[in-house]
């Protein structure tokens, strides 16, 4: 690990003075289950690590009639134990799928969303994505993308929970240094407003737009620029929405799935009137399948209609040389996520 400076702010406002603006200079530490391993391998080598777990406002789960807000450093096991999240089975099923007590009690929801790709080229120091695209195309791409893989990025988005959250219409709050004039008056008591250009700003956006496919080496896997962090995730409440996550895994251990899907369905009088189907582990972003949603809307959920939605989801897949098998797994994931959301037997094991 490269030596680094360390800070553990206790308030969101203190973040303003800790960022340098240089890409890669500062790493944000939450649970550390991904970052610390990456720093040991020097894949990530920051000059400063900012531990955001001591910021009280970033911690905890709160619910009201509009929905549930989860602070970014809330641990995954706390989400599992929270009755407020019972209304979102897709989220709890995704967390359960992580299958490791240690990862669940150490890992945070913000870190889970911001974890880096598991791509073994990336994890062995080849970077993302640049000329890697060609390397992956010719090389061992059995775990790589079958959608959204025509550009240089061929890896798959790592987050296990994002497909469920995107399907449920979650949004994310981002905080970071902002430019422009301060909204308030002059800085008081030496507060770091404006003086150093490090005033804080925030943005709230749909989680679906948070993940992006990089086209060039300096671009990341999310919209986050250097020094921006996720602070909260909000899931809108809708009693009529049934949801589920289905993952296909190679073993019972804490491995990443080969394919996954989350389904959020509005079922009225036995018929699906609204659907959001999001695939995981198949594209550089959580992959929203409008084709699958269109196939199931207007139908009753049956083994046949779920299968048709699965087939619609993968009709335009573009597998690489070694991952054609994932097309079948993605199809089955969609089919079973839909069945599971509707409370039907999914089959398989």
């Amino acid at each position: 690990m490269k030596a680094f400076e360390y800070a553990a702010p206790r308030r969101e406002s203190e973040l303003a003075g800790l960022f340098s603006g240089r890409p890669g200079a500062t790493a944000v530490l939450a649970g550390g289950t991904d970052l610390v391993g990456l720093m040991k391998k020097m894949i990530v080598a920051p000059d400063r690590v900012v531990n955001i777990k001591e910021i009280a406002s970033l911690y905890g789960i709160s619910a009201d009639s509009a929905g549930v807000t989860v602070g970014a450093v809330t641990r995954l096991d706390e989400m599992l134990d929270s009755a407020d999240l019972d209304a979102f089975p897709a989220v709890k099923q995704a967390i359960r799928g992580i299958n490791s007590m240690q990862l669940q009690s150490q890992g945070t929801i913000g870190g889970e969303l911001c974890q880096r790709p598991r791509c073994w080229y990336f994890r062995n120091g080849c970077g993302l994505p640049t000329e890697l695209g060609r390397m992956v195309e010719r090389g061992d791409n059995r775990y790589h993308a079958i959608f959204g893989n025509r550009g240089p990025a061929k890896y798959v988005s790592a987050s296990r929970i994002a497909p469920a959250l995107v399907a449920l219409g979650a949004s994310v709050r981002i905080v970071g240094p902002a430019s422009g004039e301060a909204v308030e008056g002059p800085p008081k008591n030496g507060a770091p407003v404006a003086q150093d250009g490090n005033a804080l700003g925030e943005a709230i956006m749909p989680l679906a737009d948070f993940f992006v496919t990089p086209r060039a080496p300096h671009q990341g896997e999310t919209v986050l620029d250097p020094d921006q962090i996720v602070t909260h995730i909000h899931i809108p409440r809708d009693e009529q929405i049934a949801s589920a996550t289905y993952e296909v895994r190679q073993s019972e251990g804490p491995e990443y799935p080969l394919a996954a899907a989350a389904a959020a369905l509005r079922i009225e009088a036995g018929v699906v009137t609204e659907a959001r189907i999001v695939l995981g582990q198949v594209a550089p972003v959580p992959w929203v399948s409008e084709a699958a949603a269109a196939a199931i809307v207007g139908q009753a959920v049956t083994p046949e209609s779920a299968r048709a939605a699965g087939e619609a989801a993968v009709a335009r897949a573009t597998p690489l040389s070694q991952n054609r098998y994932k097309v079948q797994l993605a199809r089955v994931s969609v089919e079973r996520a839909i069945l599971q959301a509707a409370g039907l037997e999914t089959g398989g094991f």
């Binding site: 490269k2 030596a3 680094f4 400076e5 360390y6 800070a7 553990a8 702010p9 206790r10 308030r11 969101e12 406002s13 203190e14 003075g17 550390g32 610390v36 391993g37 040991k40 400063r48 690590v49 531990n51 777990k53 910021i55 009280a56 406002s57 709160s62 009201d64 807000t69 641990r75 299958n99 490791s100 007590m101 240690q102 990862l103 150490q106 219409g169 709050r173 981002i174 905080v175 240094p177 902002a178 430019s179 004039e181 301060a182 909204v183 308030e184 008081k188 507060a191 407003v193 005033a199 700003g201 925030e202 943005a203 709230i204 919209v223 986050l224 602070t231 909260h232 019972e252 804490p254």
Partner: protein
């Protein structure tokens, strides 16, 4: 997103809420835009914002409670909890196996939650409470330790301390766990010798023996 896309918020947010959750929910409803949303509700604190101390990269003093005793060590921010436990505090139960925590061999309790000491920085534990496998041994060992011995739940033994902590932590939370639940609960620990069957038998014994205090 670039700096211009972020709406300025007031520094000096209060200690409890940061930017109010109400404002977040309001902004993140159905019509949430991909661009920044201007913030109306701003929570101002009475006191001036404080700045955060930056330490390192050289060694700095870290104070934590380890197995019930307050200990102060001197370590660089990059030192992991596992390194500090093993090389400075002579607590060599937790083992370095995988550098990324995937083996579970370095499992310890941090504020009574099972975590991987190899992916936890020592400096993160400032002011926190760490408990290691050593607290389960001694003249009157924990029932989990006795059950591991009775069932010969080890071969080379290198993964054993992590497994013992994991079993203890899992059974503390799930005192009447079934075999299937135990299997699922121990998925975060790996044994290269393949002693899983005996580990699970030992854990089941603790559940059945009612000695799962």
């Amino acid at each position: 997103m670039n700096r211009d896309q972020l709406a300025r918020i007031a520094v000096g947010d209060d200690e409890r809420g940061g930017v109010s959750r109400r404002a977040f929910i309001k902004g993140s409803g159905a019509a949430a835009a991909a661009t920044a949303i201007a913030q109306g509700a701003i929570v101002m604190a009475d006191e001036a914002p404080t700045s955060t101390a930056v330490v390192g990269p050289e060694a700095t003093a870290i104070t934590m409670t380890v197995n019930g005793r307050q200990r102060t060590v001197s370590a660089e921010p990059r030192a992991t909890l596992l390194e500090v436990l093993r090389t400075q505090l002579d607590l060599t139960g937790a083992k370095p196996v995988s550098s990324d925590g995937s083996s579970g061999a370095s499992t310890v309790w941090l504020d009574e939650k099972p975590v991987s000491a190899s992916t936890t920085l020592a400096i993160e534990c400032e002011g926190k409470s760490v408990r290691t496998v050593e607290t389960l041994g001694g003249v009157k060992p924990d029932p989990v330790v006795s059950a591991f011995a009775a069932h010969d739940a080890m071969q080379c033994g290198f993964c054993t301390p992590g497994f013992v902590v994991a079993v203890r932590a899992f059974l503390d939370k799930n005192p009447t766990a079934s075999e299937d639940e135990i299997r699922a609960g121990l998925n975060g620990n790996l044994c290269r010798c393949g002693t899983y069957a005996n580990v699970i038998a030992a854990a089941l014994d603790v559940v059945k023996g009612g000695s799962n205090g």
